[in-house]
């Protein structure tokens, strides 16, 4: 609680209005949470980093994990689409397996671009979103449209409205639940600001952040990684209040395994690896392990 007599500088105290078509938080259905104890149900959670349309690699990874549709539950940490060879197939596989997907910055752009394509715009008699994709420069330089999202618009058309609508239902933050030593497990695409309630996290930043400066998150690379600040913060909390974040987004940093955060974007698209954290219930506590497969470079020209 803020003392009324003093001015306190703190990030996350604001009450920004919500965004259309954005689900802030979802709780993972309890039936998917791995159980502990002697008579536990053997179901596991398989959490996979940025797939980016690399369907083949995802299939290989699930095989390596020994994924069983009826027993295990798949969670994808965002950016399942864009850049790679087959975004459509990845969405279809996720739907078939009834996976829980969190919204990444690429899903976000696609959902927004789709909304803009659906909206009625008055005809400006000027270059616009409906002009040919291959048009680089307009007759009148002055009014060049170039929103820079031709690729996004193309992908929207490729995916079709049904898949885009399915992606809209994906939450920005997935609250998995308390899993022993890991505390409250949360899956997001990019990161979280410690000390700010999940309800008050800025969804744009949750899908894009890399660093935290003076308590304020940023998508820039220079500065303290948000996960450093997050881990420091968790260690100062009483054990029952600690929380572990599993995220993707930052293939340049690569695998980032800390006590209270696990970064699993290992650059599958660029010919790196596709990574999964597999969580299962043990006799007395939950265990987790890392499983990876090698990927071919899937970047589209």
């Amino acid at each position: 609680m803020v003392n009324a007599d003093e001015s306190v500088d703190q990030y996350g105290l604001n009450a920004r209005p919500e965004f259309k078509d954005t689900i802030q938080i979802m709780d993972l259905p309890a039936k998917y949470i791995p159980e502990t104890g002697k008579h536990r149900n053997p179901g596991r959670l398989v959490i996979v980093g940025d797939v980016h349309g690399m369907e083949e690699s995802l299939v290989q990874l699930l095989e390596k994990v020994g994924f069983k549709e009826k027993r295990d539950h798949l969670i994808l940490a965002g950016d399942i689409i864009s850049k790679g060879p087959d975004s459509k197939a990845v969405v279809d596989l996720a739907r078939k397996l009834d996976a829980t997907v969190v919204r990444g910055n690429h899903e976000d752009r696609i959902i927004l671009a789709a909304a803009d394509m659906m909206a009625e715009h008055m005809d400006l008699d000027a270059p616009g979103p409906s002009e040919p994709v291959d048009k680089v420069q307009d007759v009148l330089e002055e009014v060049s449209f170039n929103h820079g999202d031709y690729k996004d618009r193309k992908l929207v058309k490729e995916l079709g409205q049904k898949r885009v609508n399915w992606l809209k239902e994906c939450p920005v933050i997935l609250r998995v639940g308390k899993l022993g030593d890991m505390g409250q497990v949360v899956v997001v695409h990019a990161g979280l600001v410690p000390g700010v309630e999940l309800e008050n996290q800025d969804p744009t930043m949750v899908m894009n952040m890399r660093t935290i400066k003076h308590g304020v998150p940023s998508d820039e690379r220079e500065g303290h990684g948000w996960m450093e600040v997050w881990n420091e913060f968790q260690k100062r909390l009483p054990k029952h209040k600690r929380s572990t974040v599993i995220y993707g987004h930052d293939s340049k940093r690569g695998l980032q395994m800390e006590k209270y955060s696990m970064g699993i974007d290992t650059g599958c698209l660029k010919g790196g690896k596709l990574s999964a954290i597999v969580i299962e219930g043990g006799q007395s506590d939950h265990k987790h392990k890392l499983v990876q497969v090698d990927c071919k470079d899937g970047r589209q020209k």
Partner: protein, 303 residues
């Protein structure tokens, strides 16, 4: 030119389309404007200080409005603007201090004097050709069941085609003016100034630069209770313009942020007899450029 619009008139909001012929009022307004011929500045304010710099001179009644009237006027200015533009399918988004107010609680900051919005340059051209000097009535329902109808003028600066700063007199491209007291919204057009050499960099006339992918795709949200659009990377735009502290500082201009109330609360009565500061009206789009990295100072100057 095709023009698609929705005649979605709700019982709450009744924008009225202006007649194609400029009404007598508009002609008067144009004549009034001609009185200032000779200088290169298009829009004029009654005074060069903070208190008088926020009125359009054609509709200024001679005395400044009260704190309460100002808040009420600005609220209806933005609601009418966003509603009328949305009904006409004209894309616009909120900017500068107005965007910062949205970030805090989706409202105009109570110490703010004017409002800022942006449009693309092609939208601005379209507005100039199709809706310049049009009056729009906007009716709002009060909580007690009564209603108020207010009238607004959309005025496009004919110099907006000159996409360079020039002598700095015409950095604002258009205004949405409350004709009852002259308070207004600054509307600025953004375009990709050098698509060949600097693709993806947009700017207004004052060289305020934005990256295409920071602006688009726009995000739909709510401002002062009506649907509104904000730039894609609003966080980055706000911290670059005002510094990260603008997102954490909870005391501004004698107002304190109350997280439980989700409001900026005035800490002491505003002293209306305070002498106006000797400072000309400087549109938001101009202010942050001098020293963009010292965001706090920018913020203080803006606020």
């Amino acid at each position: 030119m095709k023009f698609t619009h929705l005649f979605a008139l709700s019982s709450l909001l009744l924008p009225i389309f202006a007649a194609p012929e400029p009404p007598a009022e508009a002609i008067e307004a144009i004549e009034e404007r001609a009185k200032f011929g000779g200088d290169t500045k298009y829009f004029h304010e009654p005074g060069g200080n903070d208190e008088l710099g926020h009125y359009d001179i054609r509709y200024f009644k001679g005395t400044p409005v009260t704190y309460e009237e100002r808040g009420d006027t600005l609220l209806h200015l933005i609601r009418s603007y966003l509603t009328v533009f949305r009904e006409k399918n004209v894309e616009t988004w909120i900017a500068h201090g107005t965007l910062l107010g949205w970030w805090w609680n989706g409202k105009i900051m109570p110490w703010d004097w004017d409002l800022d919005t942006q449009v693309s340059a092609s939208t601005l051209t379209w507005l100039g050709e199709n809706l310049n000097m049009t009056f729009h009535n906007y009716t709002s329902l009060n909580e007690d069941g009564t209603s108020d109808t207010r009238e607004y003028l959309l005025d496009i600066n004919p110099n907006h085609v000159e996409r360079i700063r020039g002598d700095g007199q015409n950095v604002i491209d258009a205004r949405w003016i409350d004709v009852s007291n002259g308070l207004f919204i600054d509307i600025t057009g953004l375009s990709e100034t050098n698509p060949s050499t600097q693709p993806g960099i947009w700017s207004c006339k004052n060289f305020h630069r934005y990256r295409t992918r920071d602006l688009y795709p726009l995000r739909e949200t709510v401002f002062e209770g009506v649907p509104a659009l904000v730039p894609y990377s609003f966080d980055r735009i706000l911290t670059e313009e005002y510094s990260a502290r603008a997102l954490t500082k909870t005391m501004h201009e004698g107002h304190k942020w109350m997280p439980e109330q989700k409001e900026w609360v005035k800490q002491e009565p505003i002293n209306s007899k305070q002498p106006p500061r000797a400072r000309a009206h400087v549109p938001r789009s101009v202010q942050a450029e001098e020293n963009p990295k010292s965001g706090l100072r920018n913020l203080l100057r803006v606020l």
